[in-house]
Subunit: 557 residues, 2 copies
């Protein structure tokens, strides 16, 4: 364990900073988000691309139980099949191997485990360009976004989970002396020991759109608290997870642990291993990001496990009045475009009073505001290079199908265009479809995953707030934005946010977008509405992943 | 809110001490456990008795929604019907009233709420003698135990929950400044606010044996985190809960809050309100102590709520060798007798190698050890006054019935005697029934609630450990004791404790008993075996009772 201990020492200062950051919640990150050679090394970009390309069209092998087959169905929306074959395992074998690895990891204690996790994160950071390419070609994100969201931002979320779990476990003392006075008699004295004990085997069911960002919090929170982790990757986005598991296994091995403490459960397009893993009696923790169908199934069936899940939602923006229309419209144009609306934080509906709103350019009618937003989007996306980088590509045919059928959901105020994606033969990007509807319409109150957004005419700000409150209560939401020059409107919006458990962003008109959630500062989701039953990363996200087992005996003082 | 703020200031030093105590986990309590006039006031004992008696045979009214009837079925096992009538309410009305009271309590913030809770605890402490009498006559505990467990020890557990919840909520900052450098450009700066938001309405389903001790942790953890609480009292043990609710409502009113933030859901012997409350969509937290039947029902049906529950278990003692047989036997005699085995921590089975054990009195055969324990019990209970005080009375006819039918579960090595209870006409106490069985027998591996214990012959220490491990995994346990002069046996026992998630007590042979769990130091249950899915009071017990909702907006530095 000498190596494992040295990992903790090596990263001690980083851990202290991270712990301070999660408690202060200002801006902080140790993982630079800029894909620059100056930061990551002159050749990092080229080497990352090469590393990615060298994975293609071959087997990607990891440590695991008996291999029972090979699977692989990843298709880059930019340039076709990845051709990678992953080992397939039986779910029972995976759980048995994880369970076998558990005791040594448990008995190593939080300090050793935390050191190992911090080393894993450092090495993941070093592979950010490779992971960026893998993320781009599995999720369809533009490279810059794929680098950030798949690399440093995901690592930030991982480190945040490590720090939060470390704080929770290290606050439980390893031992205590219990010394109870007995009046004239000798005191009763006991020495007590407190062990941090994991809940069991943890399962992470990763999503196709953010295979690392949404995976790292559960992965690292479970690891620090002593639970082995099986990651069931989405069939379309395995590679970023496989690289992650490879790094975990390398560091675990170097530290003298069973590398099978972290395993990949890959699957192809036809077989699904998620259900049999999820209901296994030894699986006690499940982290899930994805649609309601499987999320609801998990809650109904995986009753032996604690489930931390993020599902569908309806994110909204209320526009009451705007102090800088130009910048607000630019901000919204970016938010609605980014990754073709495939973020769980993308606004789906912009609610605007039908009588129009006050702006720094005077009172504008509903149609004028709507038009201004659409024009700004069109202008923003008029350069194909920029459009491709921001929009990326859509990997899932179901999303493209949904987009193609969405025009009848309202009055089209901005048509979606399909354009050739520069630099990739046969690849296309899709610009957002914007529909105008009435507040009473049902369409905007259902998640329409993809580049489909609604401009919703409401009677007034109060009705807008009421509709948003109702939509969040019924369908869930992760983000809620408001534009107003009236503090009382901002206050009422904040009250709705508090009541419905949704994060509020006010008057975003600069370089922060409602879609963005910054680790160490922003809590992603709250756990208080149907979009998610947990938050990244609050105390509840880590506290349920371990128990404290004590022993006591008499001693003398 | 001036009064509410002053409560926090008044108790600030106490809170700081309690927070330190839950982190240090040594001995600490602000609520003296000795029912002494020197501590509680010269007339406290008499006044407490009078207060209790003045509640009898009349209505006990509290704040609540529309009264729809009156219920009351409490019978003192010492002296008959209490004759108290409680208001009955409709479950929907209770939840609606709680929900109505929620926003103001939520918006008051953790500091105000914590101050109110600390004031409630101080006033509960002042009524400890009254609560002691109420506890005695509803649970059947002897007065000394009823005073301690129903009064100061319950208050300790309440304060522990307050401190743990305060620590969890106060570690989330109220606001932050997020200042992100942008190279040559101006930084992006945002001010952020973080709101502690409750999960919803909380329900505590109290038990008949420890109506306050098992209720206060959930009650206070929910209150500090902003959730209104409805306490469904057991029909046999309402009064201690009613007094508690009365104190809560008084303090809440004085602090300017809706007293209906804490309400009593009483029920008689015929109607049950627990189920309709438990599945109400607005009830988001349930604390439950009781049998597996309702506990399992809750898990299957109250899926909208987070459930913290403690159910049945099989507590065990492994006897490998003993360094002080006399004291160990005395300790065990007390543990097996206390409150007639009606504690969730009472050992049910003592596993002893059939080849006998080494002791400070030489090697003793299995039969000699068994006999020594039985003789010690008999001697300990030979004085009727002491026996009555330790054993108390059994209020539930089902428990008496079980005892009367238990003789065929094994070979009787100590018969249960039914004796007149000094000072009370017609009341009786029951001494423990001790049965001898084989390790393979099923009887000792099922919870036999009441004064029924087993001495179990095992092949050797290893088999004993294996049987215990298996029993805890399958049936759950809250306590596990071991006697051994061999450190390696203690180590192996600790390993079983860690693996099965049960608290271990080693070589108890003085004034600490395996049944006892000291607040601020001992974690009661772990959440890692079927006896309980939560622990009193670890971080997980409080973290899931609130969410953090944030808002953010640009600002200038």
């Amino acid at each position: 364990m000498a190596m494992a201990e040295s990992f903790f020492d090596k990263h001690k200062s980083l851990l202290e900073q991270a712990c301070q950051a999660v408690q202060d919640r200002g801006h902080w990150t140790p993982y630079p988000e800029i894909p620059s050679g100056k930061i990551y090394g002159e050749n990092a970009k080229a080497e990352g691309l090469t590393a990615y390309q060298s994975s293609l069209n071959k087997a990607f092998s990891l440590q695991g139980p008996a291999v029972v087959g090979h699977v692989g169905a990843e298709v880059s929306p930019y340039n076709g099949e990845l051709g990678i074959q992953y080992d397939a395992y039986r779910s029972n074998d995976l759980v048995a191997a994880a369970k076998h690895a558990l005791p040594e990891w448990r008995d190593a204690g939080p300090e050793i485990r935390t050191g190992v996790c911090l080393e894993i994160l450092e090495r993941l950071n070093q592979r950010s360009f490779e992971i960026g390419n893998a993320t781009m070609h599995t999720t369809g994100q533009g490279f810059a976004m794929a680098f950030q969201a798949g690399g440093p931002h995901a690592q930030d979320r991982g480190l945040e989970a490590v720090a939060t779990a470390w704080l929770a476990t290290s606050r439980v003392p390893a031992d205590s002396l219990w010394n109870k006075p007995q009046g004239k008699h000798d005191p009763l004295v006991m020495s007590k020991r407190y062990h941090i004990v994991p809940k069991g085997v943890a399962l992470v069911v990763a999503c196709s759109t953010f295979p690392t960002w949404n995976t790292y919090p559960g992965l690292f929170a479970s690891l620090v608290t002593g639970n082995p982790v099986i990651i069931k990757a989405h069939s379309q986005a395995v590679l970023p997870v496989a690289i992650t598991v490879e790094v975990c296994q390398q560091v675990l091995s170097e530290a003298g642990f069973d590398p099978k403490l972290v395993m990949l459960a890959a699957e192809g397009s036809e077989v699904s291993i998620a259900q049999s893993l999820a209901v296994h009696e030894d699986v006690r923790i499940i982290d899930y990001t994805g649609g309601n169908s499987f999320g609801d199934w998990l809650s109904a069936n995986a009753t032996q496990a604690a489930i931390y899940k993020e599902q569908a939602g309806v994110n909204t923006i209320l526009i009451d009045s705007i102090s800088n229309l130009k910048r607000a419209a630019q901000n919204l144009a970016f938010s609605l475009s980014l990754y073709s609306g495939q973020m769980c934080t993308t606004p789906q509906a912009l609610l605007i009073p039908r009588g129009g709103i006050n702006t720094d350019e005077g009172h504008l009618s509903f149609e004028e505001v709507s038009s201004r937003i659409c024009v700004t989007i069109s202008k923003f996306l008029s350069d194909p290079e920029r459009a491709a980088g921001v929009l990326g590509a859509i990997p899932n045919p179901v999303t493209i199908q949904r987009l193609s059928e969405a025009s009848n959901l309202g009055k089209v105020v901005l048509e979606s265009a399909t354009c050739p994606l520069p630099g990739f033969d046969d690849a296309v990007y899709h610009t957002p479809l914007i529909l105008s509807v009435e507040g009473a319409d049902d369409a905007w109150q259902q998640e329409q995953f993809g580049p489909i957004s609604f401009i919703v005419a409401v009677d007034d700000t109060d009705q807008g707030l009421a509709l948003i409150s109702n939509a969040v209560a019924g369908k869930g939401a992760i983000t809620f934005g408001v534009y107003s020059t009236d503090e009382s409107v901002l206050d009422r919006a904040e009250q709705v946010a508090i009541e419905q458990g949704v994060a509020l962003s006010c008057n975003l008109d600069a370089g922060v977008f409602v879609n963005q959630s910054a680790a160490f500062s922003d809590f992603h989701a709250t756990g208080n509405n149907p979009a998610a039953n947990a938050a990244l990363t609050d105390p509840a996200f880590v506290a349920g992943r371990f128990a404290v087992v004590q022993s006591r005996r008499h001693t003398s003082v």
